[in-house]
Symmetry: C2
């Protein structure tokens, strides 16, 4: 039974979710291979079991080898994590967060254009 609302994934859970977002529905073994040699099989299995309880993934156990599917969209989770950091570290100022995220980096021209378009939209033109 998933708790409402679905909790923020822990660090390890996020690693697994990212693998599932890349792979789509997958078995434990596929997830472990995607993650590389640093994750033990039973560790990943246990995490997936916990994540199923939390509602972060769903499990199809109709076959002997279960298949896990992300139950939360990548963008929703990303939004959740950004909002969380925004509150905890920036007192809710998206402005400051964005300045930090962009400062000292080199987005491509296309990315800059996209950001400009977003700013246009936000200005309500």
């Amino acid at each position: 039974m998933p708790s409402n609302p679905i909790p923020r994934p822990t660090e390890s859970e996020l690693l697994i979710l990212r693998a599932l977002w890349r792979l789509g529905p997958s078995t434990v073994r596929q997830v472990v291979e995607e993650l590389g040699a640093d994750t033990g099989y039973t560790t990943a299995l246990k995490l997936l079991q916990i994540m199923t309880e939390k509602g972060l993934v769903t499990r199809d156990d109709s076959a002997r080898t279960h298949v896990f599917t992300p139950a939360v969209p990548e963008t929703t989770t990303q939004r959740q994590l950004v909002d969380d950091l925004l509150e905890r570290a920036f007192g809710g100022s998206a402005q400051k967060l964005v300045l930090h995220a962009l400062a000292g980096r080199k987005p491509s021209a296309a990315e800059v254009s996209e950001l400009r378009r977003l700013l246009d939209t936000l200005e309500g033109k």
Copy 2:
């Protein structure tokens, strides 16, 4: 002796750091009052002791009542946390993070202008 490099603050440690950034050098009691009734005195003291060991704060114990000062700048820590989230949730794409941070929000005209200036700078022209 602070470990190198200074570790990312935990959730509780960040709360305390934020209080110290607002207050400047402070005693345990001042920090506890700033945080409100949900933080016990000895809890805050213990955290500040741990944070001193980690190098997140410095302690002046020349007087009976010790005075704690943040040893990491707010902006540096914010950058550190953004970079961390960038890696863990966005695979390093600052672009996606920024879109999430801004989407669905309503920055002021002045903020939008500031962001435009930043984009100009990033374009390097």
